[in-house]
């Protein structure tokens, strides 16, 4: 699928960057002229993916989180969030609703929400090498809606 535009960014896995990441994603997605609801969906999914990397990937260090957004042909927005942290031993288990290895401020609903707010979700992970979450959403323009 042809790539029409993209951004890449990298930031340390600090929770203060969660708000920045979703604001940056929303600002980039704005060129597709999304509805308020679609923008909310994008901000939510980015918040979940980036929070997962911050909470789970680097338990003892502050590693790096990469985020890449692409606009693809057919009004598709692709969001990739990647870390080089400890990885997820069982991705299928991690994606089950209410499953969490986080503290009491985590609900285990992150992947469920990413999946329901986006049109596609793929999680690839290798223990000790990191995790890549890729999500896609079709942004129908307001004019065509």
């Amino acid at each position: 699928m042809k790539q029409l535009n993209y951004i890449k960014m990298e930031f340390p896995a600090k929770s203060v960057n969660e708000g920045f990441a979703r604001a940056a994603a929303a600002a980039f997605a704005a060129q597709l002229d999304p509805t308020m609801e679609q923008l909310g969906d994008i901000r939510t999914a980015v918040s979940e993916a980036v929070t997962n990397a911050i909470v789970h990937a680097y338990p003892d260090t502050v590693g790096q989180v990469q985020m890449r957004l692409r606009i693809l042909e057919g009004e598709q927005l692709e969001i990739m969030v990647r870390d080089k942290g400890r990885g997820i031993p069982d991705v299928k288990k991690a994606m089950e609703p209410m499953f969490s290895t986080g503290g009491e401020e985590r609900s285990g609903m992150g992947f469920t929400i990413m999946s329901s707010f986006m049109d596609g979700l793929r999680v690839r992970s290798a223990v000790g090498r990191g995790t890549t979450v890729t999500m896609r959403k079709r942004i129908q323009t307001k004019a065509g809606a």
Partner: protein
């Protein structure tokens, strides 16, 4: 984000304002736990009327409030949720655990 509270006749209302994410959740939870312990209310209303964003951290926060209230025989519910926070509440299925009242949709 900000958490403001008011108490009257056994009912504690918590007003959540701004954006609730993982970065904000731990401090909000500490503040809410202290407030609930101080008043030991019969009812606790989580008012989301001025919450502009929340992710699944908000779900964890509500579940914790619900548990805190159940420990002392009280009950909790969510009021005035709208837009993006309401959509997250709907997607999580949390309405099986706690009552959600939506704001009038504009």
């Amino acid at each position: 984000m900000k958490v403001l509270s008011s108490y009257q006749d056994g009912r504690l209302t918590l007003y959540l304002k701004g954006e609730l994410d993982h970065h904000e959740a731990a401090a909000a939870l500490r503040k809410i736990s202290r407030t609930v312990d101080d008043y030991l209310p019969r009812d606790c209303v989580v008012d989301m009327g001025e919450l502009s964003f929340m992710d699944s951290s908000g779900i964890a926060l509500i579940l914790k409030i619900s548990r805190l209230m159940a420990e002392t025989g009280g009950r909790a519910w969510v009021a005035n949720a709208k837009n993006q926070p309401l959509k997250v509440l709907d997607a999580s299925g949390i309405d099986r655990v706690i009552q959600i009242s939506a704001a009038a949709r504009s």
